[in-house]
Amino acid sequence: MRRDTAIGIGLLVLCAVLYWQAGLVPVPPFIPIGPSFYPRVMLIFLAGLAVWLIVEDLFKKRSPAGEAKKAKGPAPNYRRVLWGFSIFLGYVACLDLIGFVTSTFLFILGLSWAVGPRNAREVPKLAAVAAGTALACYLLFEKYLYVFLPRGLLF
């Protein structure tokens, strides 16, 4: 299946689910327009646009010159992106569990190692950056700006 067609179908499913969900909202008396009116109008628009996207995609001509042009550029490194998202997800999940300073130190060290050149000689430098950033953020935000950063089991 073509990519835009798949996105269009996904959007149609989303619209159907949300339209049903909007129908569960109670309608208050004496108000000409209930709370479900606006989301439903938006959902109808979105569904119409999703159909447009599908139709446009189905009738779109594939340009061989364009494909060739695309292939010329450097290949994106999705492994780095996957590392980026995974480590960041772990970081967000750990913030409340082990606290801001520890999780920030581990996050910066982990991500810079994962997406960097992975040279053992770089580790002290990366650890210094991680520790420096975590402590600087803690001191600046907690002690100076009074933003109480997440506390966990550690620090």
Binding site: V25, P35, N77
Partner: protein, 510 residues
């Protein structure tokens, strides 16, 4: 005028002045580092402004905006890599000039052109914002509803990618605001009974996620992470005669004024931004030049056009934000969010009810330009090592600051999850060719569109008023025109591309 002068004096007060300088320097550094956009820099400074009085926070942010718009030229001229999208066209002539052995001339032409272009745009900012706000005072809910529809249609139409994707992005943004309690009766909707969704998604973590996380992940895709060698050498001479540089800029009055006007106009149009302004101004300068063939070889005309337009763009964006409460681009969207956090609603009443803040913003804008020149000159001494920081060190640190920015909004971890969810969505949108600006504008305007529509219908149930009230009708007609024009333009471009493809295919077969 007296109010402007008085606020200018108030801004020289140490705390305020220091914030403005710090913001400008942060903007210059952020703008100079490739991969860190002005939006990202302003997002990073946002948590620092929460504890400040409104004008001090805005002074910091305007400093970032002005500094960032000019900071991108450093790496554009010295490395050949634009520090921000606003400096793309600066690279075309700035880098060749630097490689010819004139890095100082190249950078300082950019700095002074930014300062002059930005300062010139300050006058329409003061006059335009006040006059447009007066006009907007006559607007009822019908006009506001139509204005927001017009804004959305312009943004969706101007998006570089497909029109339908721009529209989907806008409507999706509008839909996001429908999640949570409705603005009139506070009845929860589309929450699936989930407490996390009951209050809806806060705007700032969405903005930080959509622009911040998606930008970093897109950067991580590109292998390497270190910048290329410049070929300038360590002892590159940055010394210049400032008088000669300024004379050189004023020797091109038509180029300077035209580029400033292009930047200003692009800034006034919602969500187009400096990235379009500098390229359009460069293009206009080339078309209007007696020697267009010399563009791209390192001539001052290209640098002056690009840099004066991107700083004038700042003035234009502020006009739209201050007069209508509509962000001109992502940077003013963050400023708008910051104002709302401080309990100030930008819009037509903003200039009259919050005159000290509004005129303070004008004064800060003017003052930020000479400060930018001084600080950028100082930063140039150690610019090269800073702009060459590897991405694998920079990106985790930036992400941590984005997390703090989202969290500090009201000290809850749910905001960080919102940042993550919308950051992931933003990245997927970039990968599938959906523009990001319309979704943000949709999120900003969603509540306003709904509230004004309901107000209009509750005031008078006659729906034809949307079309028969002159301003409202005109804006709705303009929305349709903008939509149809965009459709026609894209069809024409597609036809031309199709003809080219046929030619290529023909050549292959032949």
């Amino acid at each position: 005028m007296d109010l402007l002068w008085n606020t200018l004096l108030a801004i020289i007060e140490p705390k305020m002045f220091l914030s403005l300088c710090a913001g400008t320097l942060a903007g210059i550094v952020g703008g100079a580092i490739p991969g860190i956009t002005i939006t990202m820099t302003i997002i990073l400074t946002l948590p620092f402004t929460f504890g400040m009085p409104p004008l001090q926070g805005l002074a910091t942010m305007i400093g970032v905006y002005v500094g960032g718009s000019a900071g991108g030229l450093i790496s554009a001229c010295l490395l050949g890599i634009p520090g921000t999208p606003s400096a793309i066209a600066t690279t075309f002539d700035g880098f060749p000039m630097a490689r010819k052995g004139q890095p100082g001339r190249s950078v300082w032409l950019g700095i002074w052109a930014s300062c002059i272009g930005g300062a010139l745009a300050g006058f329409p900012l003061v006059i335009g914002a006040v006059q447009l706000a007066r006009l907007a005072l006559d607007f009822g809910p019908w006009e506001y509803f139509s204005l927001f529809i017009l804004t959305l249609s312009i943004v969706a139409s101007l998006s570089e990618q497909s029109l339908v994707k721009g529209l989907i992005s806008s409507v999706f943004g509008l839909l996001v605001t429908a999640i949570g309690t409705d603005p009139l009766m506070a009845i929860p909707r589309l929450t699936f009974g989930w407490e996390f969704l009951r209050t809806g998604f806060p705007f700032l973590p969405i903005l930080i996620g959509v622009f911040g996380l998606s930008q970093i992940m897109s950067d991580l895709e590109k292998s390497g992470g270190t910048t290329e060698e410049t070929g300038l050498g360590k002892g590159a001479n940055m010394k210049v005669s400032h008088r000669a540089i300024i004379r050189e800029i004023f020797a091109q009055p038509v180029n300077l004024i035209r580029s400033t006007l292009v930047g200003l106009w692009i800034g006034i149009l919602p969500a187009v931004g400096g990235s379009a302004a500098n390229i359009l101004a460069y293009d206009q300068a080339k078309k209007g030049s007696k020697y267009p063939e010399k563009f791209g070889t390192g001539i001052p005309d290209g640098i002056i056009a690009s840099e004066s337009s991107n700083n004038a763009n700042v003035g234009g964006s502020l006009i739209t934000m201050m007069a209508f409460g509509i962000p001109g681009d992502a940077v003013t969207a963050v400023m708008l969010g910051a104002l709302i956090i401080h309990g100030i609603q930008p819009g037509p009443l903003f200039v009259t009810t919050n005159a000290p803040i509004a005129y303070g913003m004008f004064a800060v804008y003017f003052l930020a330009h000479p400060i930018m020149v001084i600080l950028e000159g100082w930063f140039l001494r150690f610019a090269l090592p800073v702009v060459k920081l590897p991405l694998y060190i920079l990106s985790p640190v930036v992400l941590v600051l984005c997390v703090i920015g989202s969290y500090a909004l009201n000290n809850i971890i749910e905001n960080v999850w919102t940042f993550f969810i919308f950051g992931t969505l933003g990245y997927l949108m970039v990968k599938t060719g959906f523009p990001l600006a319309p979704i943000i504008l949709g999120v900003i305007l969603g509540d306003q569109i709904e509230t004004n529509y309901i107000r209009a219908v509750m005031t008078d149930s006659d729906w034809t008023l949307f079309f028969t009230r002159p301003w409202s009708g005109a804006m709705l007609v303009l929305s349709v025109v903008s939509f149809v024009y965009s459709l026609w333009q894209r069809r024409r471009a597609a036809k031309r591309a199709g003809a080219k493809v046929e030619e290529v295919e023909g050549e292959v077969e032949f």
